[in-house]
Symmetry: C2
């Protein structure tokens, strides 16, 4: 411990990053939480996160914390909002830059090792009580996800690279919380031209196997530079 190692003319707040990580399993949209093993809020669930180091950017800090606390890597990560009210941490003035992330569970089983031993997924519509103001951060992230999914193609981030149209439809239905018409939705999503039909079908299903598609990131980047707007 380096007591008093750093001195400043003016007092400075602490800066942390917290991450709201979403994933889909067969039933639900889920959020990842960590059980705290130190006070304050010892034993309560909280968003993964921690202090920003002096030599790393905010996004680097968010990715590092995710790696250390949950074992997750290479996921969609975007800045959400910065929470800086006085008194949101009982110990000290803390400013938290929140990020939200999307992962597909197939590629990313949460490591049960090391720091991750207390990480778990919870359904977004029935989360446990959260430490600090993390419920506010979580609800902000959920609202952002629901808004953003409608005009940016981020639903794909919750699926493996190859997926069926029905799987993609279910992603949208779960995030938006309502059912979509199968025929209309297929017409719409295919008309964007952003899905590549593969010469592959599902394996190991006990009914007619569906065609697999993948999202054409290249084409999306081209189109969005030219002012194209993805909309569902």
């Amino acid at each position: 411990m380096l007591k008093g190692a750093f001195t400043y003319e003016y007092e400075r707040p602490a800066v942390t990053v917290d991450c709201v990580v979403f994933a889909l399993d067969q039933e639900d949209l889920k959020v990842m939480l960590i059980q705290r093993d130190l006070p304050p809020f010892q034993g309560m669930w909280a968003l993964p996160g921690g202090f920003v180091q002096m030599q790393e950017s905010l996004e680097e800090a968010a990715m590092r914390e995710l790696r250390e606390e949950t074992g997750l890597e290479r996921l969609f990560l975007e800045q959400l909002y910065t929470f800086g009210d006085v008194g949101r941490d009982p110990r000290d003035r803390v400013i938290t830059v929140a990020y939200y992330a999307l992962v597909n569970l197939e590629g990313h089983a949460v490591r049960a090792s090391s720091d991750a031993r207390r990480a778990a997924w919870f359904p977004v519509d029935d989360p446990p009580p959260l430490a600090f103001d993390h419920e506010k951060i979580f609800r902000t992230a959920l609202k952002r996800l629901q808004g953003k999914v409608r005009y940016e193609p981020i639903g794909f981030e919750l699926l493996p690279e190859k997926f069926t149209l029905t799987e993609l439809q279910k992603v949208y239905e779960r995030i938006l919380g309502r059912d979509l018409d199968k025929r209309n939705w297929r017409k719409k999503i295919l008309k964007t031209g952003l899905l590549l039909a593969l010469d592959e079908i599902q394996q190991d299903v006990s009914h007619r196997a569906a065609r697999l598609y993948r999202f054409d990131h290249r084409k999306y980047r081209q189109l969005s530079k030219k002012g194209f707007l993805f909309e569902i």
Copy 2:
């Protein structure tokens, strides 16, 4: 000066707020800038802003800085993004929570006094070179404004309380950077039901006077709670 007054176990970044303030005059969409009178970047133009104090929230800090540096008060203010790359300030690790603001120039002449003596408005499509990474912050704010104006009724914040439909149309044309069809646009904006036609007309114009309207904030709050989406 309190040298070494505050000590920490771990080194902490400095936290500042910067504001991108937009206004419309007769010609252009404008942004407010401050000329720096200290190094680094002495003499260059920069966004108004400064350090967050320990006993104020981020939004309070942004409002305080605006008041001190530009004399502006009671304006639309919303958090934009947090910039925290290493090396964005040559002196120290600085994390900046950026806000953007909209004002109507009629009610808010920029005070020429005290700290504001070096504040000035610049057209958004021809700004001077900016200090630090403020050009990046400014461009982020402009993009956000252009995106947000399409699905949230913030265009009104750039106008006085009572305005004509043509004035409102010009706000949207200037922000979006393209012309709108007068008849189609009027139909659309009136169909939202969010404009209250007043029993008043323009004064002191040398042609037929237009009817005045005001935005129905109450009704908008009601509708948006019920899931209504404003769209232009």
